[in-house]
């Protein structure tokens, strides 16, 4: 025997070593136990007695399993032997000891073999520390930390027992349910969350109690009123026997999320509805020009089903050369950021399914989604608008023609006068010849001269008629050409020369130097000049003082336009008439139709110019006409013509 606990002090040095050893063993706070190789307790120190509540006498001589190891009695011989074998190894392990009066203790052991006199292992020495409280404390601290953590989480975490009473509910419940105290422990969960919520979640609770995880995602009546949207997961909590002893509930408030989700959904639905019902065609293409989306309006415009165009190149909706060039347009834009249409809008011609052209107003905007570039195009069918424009232009031409014919009235006196001159000359010459023939005295050279004169005068009459015919010509017979305003002004002055003379009006011309060219329909612009000059003559009909018609023309390089002013020394335009001056049917002439100025303005505006009326510094009326022009010889045109 290495030592006996009851052996106390024998006096010898060996004995004093022994006594010391004994004292160490006896009074050590460590648990010291010695077992033989069968597991019988040989030595059991005081610390062991105090821990286990068993005296050494009750334990010594018996297998340790019988007294100290929980469940040890049930172990078989084989198991015991295995246990001993493991214990013989020097190592550390943790086990539990029974106590006579209390709960099991957790002990941390350090074992070693002891050798007998024969040098072979004979006993096992075990030294142990009771770590029950430590663990408990650790466990407590861990539990505390966990609780703190759980309390700070914004989610709701609760532990319920099988009767739905609260074992634990984290702090969030207090805020959520507007509770007075944090500690809800022991209350029925219904009292905390409200009857409505309980009713809704009961199913989940019951699932959990049945051992299955389940989640509820939906609205829950909020204890403070209103509703919140939650995602609540319920899991069974199990005891040490793996039986369900309660429910863990983890709930997250997803009200905001739900609201955003619904907003997004609404937004999306709204966008889809807008696109679907838009009157304009909406086409989305990717950066390769492949059609991604094609709304019903686009279907109507192009005559294609969305299904038949999606996935194909957008060029199929264009005529040549745009169809082939479209890829280049896109590439150019992606490379340089310059768009022919992007940011501007443009009138283009599209190609319908049946191949017929359709006039469109096209606007394009780029956008990115997931780092990919797309283009959205808005097309509006402007065929009707274009047709209306065309019709309006034709209408204006008709009206202008009628106006010219009406204007002819003012030329009648002059015309008659002009024509009677050459006719008189022709007649007198012819009659002179006849007289000479009667007398038998017409020499051939006299006859020749006479006939030449007749021919000349007839030609002169012809020219006059030609001028009138030219004036009366319908607009569509004269396509727009490049004309110099001064030439046109002079033509008109010639046409009205008789009227000017009769009215005794002095014409003062101050025309361009150098000459400029306008893109104009000559007949129509001359008509404008005709109306303005004729009006000026009429205005001065009653003027007693000086009657002066001043015509001035200037080229303005800044705006590339020709400014022409026609002013008279008549009574001027009355304040009251200014507003209505250019209205159709407005006239101050008793026999006037009132179309002249209205048509003048329409013609001028169609040419891209302006016509303004005013009173000059000397009191008479002054009309200013501005026409887009280029200076002759400048080499480049103004805009797109």
């Amino acid at each position: 025997m290495p030592y006996q606990s009851t052996d106390v002090g024998s006096g010898t040095s060996e004995g004093s070593d022994q006594a010391l050893l004994q004292a160490l063993v006896e009074y050590s706070q460590l648990l010291i136990v010695v077992l033989d190789l069968d597991g019988r307790v040989i030595s059991f120190n005081r610390a062991c007695e105090m821990l286990s509540g068993l005296s050494a006498a009750e334990v010594i001589g018996k297998p340790i399993w019988a007294t100290l190891i929980p469940g040890g009695e049930a172990l078989t011989g084989k198991e015991r032997a295995q246990d001993i074998a493991e214990s013989r190894l020097t190592g550390t392990f943790v086990n539990q000891w029974l106590t006579s009066d209390g709960p099991q203790r957790l002990i941390h052991w350090r074992n070693t073999e002891l050798l007998g006199p024969d040098g072979k292992p004979q006993w096992i020495l075990g030294t142990g520390i009771d770590i029950t409280f430590q663990t408990h404390a650790e466990r407590e601290s861990t539990a505390q930390q966990l609780k703190k953590l759980v309390d700070t989480l914004p989610s709701l975490i609760a532990h319920l027992d099988r009767d739905f009473h609260i074992r634990f509910a984290n702090r969030s419940h207090q805020d959520w349910f507007g509770l007075d105290s944090i500690d809800q422990t022991g209350k029925h969960v219904r009292d905390m969350i409200g009857y409505g919520a309980f009713k809704i979640l009961k199913r989940q609770f019951q699932e959990a109690l049945a051992g299955r995880d389940s989640t509820y995602r939906g609205p829950v009546p909020f204890a403070r009123g209103g509703r919140r949207f939650i995602s609540a997961t319920c899991m069974p909590s199990r005891d040490e026997h793996d039986d369900v002893d309660g429910i863990y509930v983890l709930a997250i408030d997803i009200t905001e999320q739900e609201r955003l989700r619904r907003e997004l959904s609404d937004e999306l639905r709204r966008s889809r509805t807008v696109i679907h019902h838009a009157l304009d065609g909406i086409i989305i293409i990717d950066k390769r020009g492949i059609i991604q989306h094609f709304n019903p309006a686009a279907e109507r415009i192009f005559g294609h089903d969305a299904a038949s165009v999606i996935g194909r190149k957008v060029g199929m909706l264009m005529p040549e050369p745009d169809r082939s060039r479209h890829d280049d347009y896109i590439r150019h834009y992606l490379d340089t950021g310059e768009g022919r249409i992007i940011g501007r809008g443009r009138e283009v011609t599209g190609c319908r399914r049946d191949g017929s052209p359709v006039e469109l107003n096209l606007a394009i905007a780029p956008f990115t989604e997931d780092d990919k570039t797309f283009f959205i195009g808005f097309v509006r069918d402007i065929s009707e608008q274009k047709t209306a424009e065309r019709r309006s232009r034709e209408h204006l031409q008709e009206l202008a023609h009628l106006d010219r014919r009406a204007g002819l009235n003012d030329l009648t006196a002059g015309l008659a006068h002009e024509l009677s001159q050459p006719l008189t000359a022709i007649r007198t010459t012819a009659e002179a010849c006849l007289t000479l023939i009667e007398q038998g005295q017409l020499p051939p050279d006299s006859l020749e001269r006479a006939l030449q004169q007749v021919s000349l005068q007839a030609a002169r009459a012809g020219e006059i008629i030609q001028e009138v015919r030219h004036f009366l010509r319908k607009g569509d017979e004269t396509a727009p050409g490049s004309h110099d305003p001064d030439t046109m002004i002079n033509s008109v002055l010639k046409l009205l020369s008789h009227e000017i003379e009769t009215a005794q009006v002095k014409v003062v011309r101050d025309l361009n130097d150098p000459i400029c060219q306008c893109i104009a329909n000559r007949v129509q612009i001359e008509q404008v000049f005709f109306n303005l000059i004729r009006n000026a003559l009429q205005a001065m009909a009653e003027t007693t003082g000086e009657r002066k018609l001043a015509i001035e023309s200037r080229f303005d390089p800044d705006t590339a336009s020709c400014h022409i002013t026609i002013s008279d020394t008549g009574p001027g335009i009355a304040e009251a008439h200014f507003e209505r001056l250019f209205e159709p049917f407005f006239t101050t002439r008793p026999d006037g139709l009132g179309q002249g100025l209205s048509i003048c303005r329409s013609i001028v505006e169609q040419h891209g110019g302006t016509l303004i009326a005013g009173n000059g510094p000397e009191g008479g009326a002054c009309f200013t006409l501005v026409l887009p022009c280029i200076k002759e010889g400048s080499g480049h045109a103004n805009g797109e013509g």
């Binding site: 008659a416 000359a425 022709i426 009659e431 009769t502």
Partner: protein, 208 residues
């Protein structure tokens, strides 16, 4: 300048239109009338007309000075040349005014016939011829009147008024015989045969 044949009178053509002037000239030539033409009223007024029978063919509508203005200017200068106006369509009122102002007539371009033209022209020339003759006669008479002495003129005047010699004698405070002498001398100087002729000249004998 007047052309060769001046026997019947000269037609003066005033029209701004060259072709019409030429045509009219040719026609007048063919009819055996001398012509003279001007392109404007100003040119006409710058001319001194010869003392021969003439007719003026005047265009009514001309730039610068029109036909009516020319007519007024001529009257201001006491030119008594008869005027035939040439009018165009629509100038009828002006033409009527011209005639009221003393024009002989007007012809409408281009519808007038050469017969109408020549007739008016000849009428005008004849008229002018008579006018000229009368003027020559008047000048003659005035010349003769200037031969008379003061007394002779006084006596002639009173005789022309139809007074008897006796009364004239009392009026002038001279003898009847003296009256007879003055009367006979004045008749001789005036180259008149009968008293009726003297009576006819009464207005020319007025207070000098």
């Amino acid at each position: 300048m007047p052309t060769a044949k001046a026997e019947q009178g000269t037609v003066v053509i005033v029209d701004d239109d060259d072709a019409i002037r030429d045509g009219l000239t040719m026609l007048m030539d063919a009819a055996g009338l001398a012509t003279c033409s001007f392109a404007s009223g100003q040119d006409l007024l710058a001319w001194t007309p010869p003392d021969e029978p003439m007719c003026l063919l005047l265009d009514l509508c001309m730039p610068g000075m029109n036909g009516l203005e020319v007519q007024q200017a001529l009257q201001a200068r006491d030119w008594e040349i008869p005027i035939v106006f040439l009018t165009a369509h629509g100038e009828v009122s002006s033409a009527v005014q011209a005639v009221k102002n003393g024009a002989l007539g007007f012809l409408e371009k281009p519808t007038f016939t050469r017969q109408e033209l020549l007739e008016l022209v000849r009428q005008a020339i004849t008229h002018h011829h008579e006018t000229l003759q009368r003027r020559t006669e008047s000048l003659q008479i005035y010349e003769r009147i200037a031969r008379l002495t003061q007394r002779e003129l006084e006596v002639a005047r009173l005789v022309a008024q139809g007074l008897a010699n006796k009364v004239i004698a009392i009026e002038l405070d001279i003898s009847e015989r003296t009256v007879e002498v003055h009367r006979s001398r004045s008749m001789k100087k005036l180259e008149l045969r009968q008293v009726q002729d003297l009576v006819r000249l009464e207005h020319m004998l007025g207070p000098s």
